[in-house]
Structure formats: structure tokens, C-alpha cells
Symmetry: C2
Subunit: 459 residues, 2 copies
Amino acid sequence: MFDRATYISRRTALTERLGHGLVLLPGNAESPMNYADNCYPFRQDSTFLYYCGLDQPDLAAVLDLDAGTATVYCDELTIDHVVWMGDLPTIAERAAAVGVDRTRPLADLAADLAGRQVHYLPPYRAETVLWLGELLGRTPPAVHDGASLDLVRGVVDQRAVKEPAEIVEIERAVTTAVAMHTTAIRMARPGLVEAEIAAEVERIAAAAGGRLSFPVIATIHGEILHNHDHGNTLTAGGLFLLDAGAETAGGYCSDLSSTCPVSPLFDDRQRTIYDLQVASQEAAVATLGPGVPNRDVHFAAARVIFDGLKDLGVFKGDTDEALAAGAHAMVFPCGVGHMMGLDVHDMENLGEEWVGYDGKAKSTQFGLKSLRLARELEPGFVLTVEPGIYFIPQLMDLWHERGHCAEFIDFDELDKWRDWGGVRNEEDFLITADGARRLGPAKPVTADEIEELRAGGGA
Amino acid sequence: MFDRATYISRRTALTERLGHGLVLLPGNAESPMNYADNCYPFRQDSTFLYYCGLDQPDLAAVLDLDAGTATVYCDELTIDHVVWMGDLPTIAERAAAVGVDRTRPLADLAADLAGRQVHYLPPYRAETVLWLGELLGRTPPAVHDGASLDLVRGVVDQRAVKEPAEIVEIERAVTTAVAMHTTAIRMARPGLVEAEIAAEVERIAAAAGGRLSFPVIATIHGEILHNHDHGNTLTAGGLFLLDAGAETAGGYCSDLSSTCPVSPLFDDRQRTIYDLQVASQEAAVATLGPGVPNRDVHFAAARVIFDGLKDLGVFKGDTDEALAAGAHAMVFPCGVGHMMGLDVHDMENLGEEWVGYDGKAKSTQFGLKSLRLARELEPGFVLTVEPGIYFIPQLMDLWHERGHCAEFIDFDELDKWRDWGGVRNEEDFLITADGARRLGPAKPVTADEIEELRAGGGA
């Protein structure tokens, strides 16, 4: 939690921008796994955390734009709560710590909203949809339709630019993630099951007092982009890909990816593609800076990947035309990166068109449609850079069969890489006044650095 | 997953018991953390798992009681799914593996339900409430009101009695949990933060290919019953309590508790109360058997605790009268145990009155109202035994102030234990034809066994 002045100034900035009515910020409720009282670890709503800092379930805040007040709604604890959950500070104490001096019971919230214009963000949890429906007397579809675009834009503009204290938190999360990745790279060896590495990675995040920022991807099938299954056994000659980040106790995220050989060294074929990914990453990072559209960062990486595979005979034809046609998406079907902050895909619940596109239209082309962040970068933005090269047999077969982008792809040559797998490296960056700065300590990236770490050297 | 005959026979037994109409079994959806695509690890609904065995989100099954058919509803994967999540078996292949030969797209489900009597279980996730509302054209309150008591009772009767193959799964979960507990007992030492032990405990569950059956309780404040905060540092002379269980990849649970000194040995005051808890546990276990109401098991433990603390001068008066008045709940404010199976509190979503009370009324007395299982035990039931002794300062002060049970409590003597903390041991049992059997391998329980393990001996 930051100091109370931080929360007061964030709320003030938001309310000054909006006009009249009430801003309703519902906190998250507990999220049941298999029955109401067996819940997943509580995760507060990031926007609630940003403006109110309180990390307990069943809270709401109301900012009255006309009266200039802030109120936290919460039920006091009963003796049963105390027996089962321990002695907690009172709501008044908790609210005071974030600069809110008005508290009210939750039971009063619906009446306090009645007859007022209520701005709220689009809900992403079903519990919140039901709660807003009860509070506002609306059906679930009407709850979705009634979300406030003004509020979305105000929150996005504010949260997108990170304060110095937020950067400190994010770098703390990156530091933990670097330990997660160096440990995993050291562990990877034939015979180990993916779950054993994933479990150790999660242990490091939890032992640091926080948690994972998203479920670990720890896989021998790096070509499957969001594979959360961990049942495979690592085999000599294969690759292992880890995509994992930490979340600090304060809720700030990191997000890193690494790829390493399961054997001590990369073989020649592995190194060829691995080096190409590293080159694409370097090209993307070199492009970062204020005023640069992240779409350009994306295409800087795509160009290196396309040209590199053209040298290998997989791609062919004019690079500009091929990139425009989306031919590179055969092996790079996703985006180069995304915003990061209190969410690992920061503010994704507020809509990619505002977070990543500033309201502008998004491409529907396969590959480019998965680019989450295309807008001009600004100082204070924090984002990931994570181009990848993936040989996806099902996609190869589909495009070959349809002749899609056939003028840019030699499918016979491509097929020689069919079983290669996938590679991704990923690091986190802050856009500065004159460029960009990698956040947190360096992790091994080049093939030589990876091999050195696995040989017992390195960080 | 069990063999297809298992699922067919489970469904047959359920449908033969119910009359007419359709049984709708909605599977769980993904559960978002901080935005729609960042989800908690998927947990399937246990009843869906029991009857259909399919562990993927966004499925539903319909059993037609009149036609005698079973149908699984699911959407086929698109190429985008394949790129992001990998190649999965088709719905037809997945359904066939659990003996279902009819599959239909989810989009057809609402029409297939229209005009029929639909039995469904009370929903415990908001996503399911919204989904049922859309499928059945009902408001959220009407969805809750429309749940089928016949279906609840049929499912409870069936799931309460575990099949041999289920016992094998549960013992697998206990074996993992024993490793979690012996590791934690060995780790505990001054200077360690609770989170470091909790993280290692979770690592063991995940590395075994499953997960935790509920969020770990790892605390120096054992007197706070469900404390999920892990920020405290272990200190010499204190106690450490772990309550943690594993869930197998197939979804079956274990649930164990252990308490150990942070220093190498228990001190005399610690051992006095610790030994009393062990004696209460032994008394409870000795009471287990078919035909015995679990209420008797609860009071067997309560009696030992009350009499032991009477010997120490804390309690006084007639034991029977004191137990009837609930005086023991001063230090034992919870129940002796609960059903366990696919849920760690098995079937808690179906309602304690049916799972634990066979439809009979439950006490409202403080303490006894927290007993989750009171009914007569039957062969095949699996349950936990976990009496505890907790010195809860807030509860002491409240009862003292109100004079509650003052004829049975010497509050001055009680106050001498104010800072003692709390102790609980917990093991899992199967009710057999002639008694009960502890499931899984033994873990250290007695004070001597705990000290031996911490000295480097033991399992």
C-alpha cells in the first residue's frame, strides 16, 4: 500500500476529469472454486486497488463528483469472523489509511446510488455483474450496457502512466521473476516433468510474499502459446519454454519468458532459430521510445523474423509486401507485447481499443489482431517485449491447404522445421523521456548466456 | 479419470432414482482473476466430474430421464484455440471416453431444455447463476429458488459412499499431503516467514501433478481457525500450525493438520495442551464406526478436552451439563470434522443439512453450529477427524464480559493460557463395515514423534 496522499491525489485527478454523478468502484468478492467457502486466493480488482488500496473482499467505494466526497462501503466483522479469520482493523481505520474519512455499511449502498447518475467500469467477474444488477436494479445485459466509457477513458489515461513508486513495485516483481527464470533454466533436464519446474517457479513467487501474476506456462511445446498443461516429461534434444511473472504483495506484476535447451547445449538447428528470436527482440527494443507507435515495434521484430527465415529459404518475396499481407504470422501469430502494471495485461478488462489502440480501429488480420498494444508510446508506459518464433503444425497444414500467403512461403522448406517447437524471450520496459529502460535485473538471454547459466555459471 | 463403465453406472444409478424430466449438470467456466482472460487455475464442478469425468471448462451434460439418454454439450475448437491452447481431442472423442455417445453444440442447449422439467443443483458460482438464468429464462433469484431438492438428495446419497477406486485416489492425495506436512514440520524454525513454508507446501502438491485442495493455512496463530495470511515470522518458543491438503489430478482431496514447536522441543506448557489435543483425537477416532452419529464423535473429543482443562482448573462443574451448554466451545469452537472426497468439504455446495444432517435440524449453539457432519456414519463415508484447542483472546473477553457459561469456566485460570495459541491435528478416515481405517500413510502425531522428526529422524 502507498501513502494516503497517493490515493487522494489519484482520486482527485479522476474526479476532476469527470463531470457529474457518482463513480462506483466495486471491489472484488471472493471467488469460489468448488463451493462457496472454498475460494481461490483473493485477488482485488486492480482499479479499486489503484484508487483505494484496500486489499479485502466485499468493499465498494463511491466518489461523489458533485459533493467531492469519497466513501468506502463495508460490513464490520462479527465475533464469528474474528474467531475464524482473526482480528482485523475496523473499516474506519482501514479507510483512513487511504485517505477516506467516510464509511458506510454495504446495506446502504443501493439507496445511496438511487436516483443518481452512476459511472462504473465494465464488469469482468460474474459476481460483480450480479452485484451491480442488485445495486442498480438492472438485468445482467443492462449492467454490461450501462458501463461508462468516460470512466474507462479516465482510468486508462491515468493508470497507463506509472508513478515512480509504481515502478519500484514493478521492478520488485521483475526481480522475483528473474529468480524464477534462472532457477527454471538451471533445473531443466531430461526426465523432469513440466509440473516439477512449474511448482518450483510458483514457490519462489509465493515465498517472496506475493504470488504469480498469471498461471505459469512451463512447457516442452513452446509452439503452443498459452499451454497451461504441465504433464509432459522433458527429453534430451528438446526445448523448454517458461513464461511466468510475479505479483508483489501490493499487486504489481512482472512478466518474463525464457527458452532453453533440455540438453546442456543448443544444437545447431535450435541455435539458428533461437538467435533469430534474440535478434528480433533486440530490434524491437531498439525501436522503443516516446512517440513511437508500438505497432512499429511489432513490425521491427516481424521484419527481422521474416528476413531471417527468408535467408533460410522458408519465406520468400518482398518483405514489405509480406509483412503487409501478414505472412510472418505463420511463425509469429501473436503480438510483440502489452501494457503491464497492476494487471499483467494492464487494464485488459477496460478494453483493448482504449488501452492499446486509443480508440482507433484494430486490425482483423490473423496475427495482427492479437497485437494488444499498437498506440504511440508515452513516457511512463510499462510494457513487455516478447516476439516469438513458433512452428505450429496445424497452422502450417491449414495455410498450405488453403494456399494462404503462398507467394511468401515455401511450404516444403517450412515443413522441414515442423517439429522444431517454439521460442520466446520476454522482458519488461519503461518508456522514458528519451527512450526506454529495461526494468529489473538482467536475466540471461543470448544462447551463450543460457548455456553458461546451465553449466553452473551466470547469475 | 476412471473407466467409462464407472461413469455409465453412476449416471444410471442417479437417473433410476429420479422420476421424469431432464437433469442438467453444468460444468464450471473459467474463473477470472483481474480480467476475463487471466483466470485462476480451472477447477471443474465436482458433481460434473463425478458423473461425466471431463475436466475442461464450458461443458454441460443433460441426462434425459424419460428417454434414458446422456448428452454432452460443448463447442468445438477453432484454429485460434489450437494456436493458443494446442490440439485437443474432439468433443465426440472426449465424451466417448466417459460413455456418452451424444454430443451437441452449446448453442442448442437452451432450446433442448425448453418446455421440459429441468432438475439442477444449487449453483455456487456467479457464472453458473448467470448461465442458468440465460438457459432457463430466469432471474438470478429464480435460478436459486428453482434448484431441485430431489437431485440434491440423490447426488448426496450417491457421492457420500465412496467406491474402492475413489479410495485409491483419496489415499494418493493423503500420501502427497503427508509429504507436505513432514516437510513443513522439518522446515519450521525461528526467522522463517510463514509464506516460505506455505510456498514449499504448495510446491509439493503441484509437483505431484495436482494442486492444493484448499488454500494453505500456515500460521504461528493457530488459534485463528482459517487464517490465510502468511506474513508473520516464526519465533523461538512459539508454535506453528499447518492445515493443508492435496488434490490429485483426478480431483480427489486430502486434508491434514499438524502443529509443532518452532524451537526443537515443546516446552512444558505447550506439551500439556498438545497432549490433550492428541488424547481428544484418539478418543474421537476410537468412536468412529458405522451407525455412530458423528455428533457422538464430536462430543467424545469435546469431553476429553473439557475434562483435561477441568484438571488444569480452567473448566469446572458437571461435564455433561457443560457440554450440553456448549462451554467447551470456548476452546473448541468448531466441529470435529467433515466429509471429504471430490471436495475437501465434500458436497458442501449441496447444503450441510443434507450432506451432514440427513435433513435433520442443526444446532444454532455457538460451536456446535459449526459441526458440519452430525449424521450416522455409514460404510464408505470418508471424513476428517480434527478436534482442536484454541485460546482466542477476543472470545475469552467476550464470554467473560457477558458471563457466558460462567458456571463452567474459571476465567482467571483461563486467562493464564491467553497467549498459548492454538493446536490442531487432523487425519482422514474411511468408515468400514466394522469400524474405521486411517487413509494413507501415518504422519507424526504425538509430541515425541514430532520432536523426533524435527531432530532429523522419523519418516
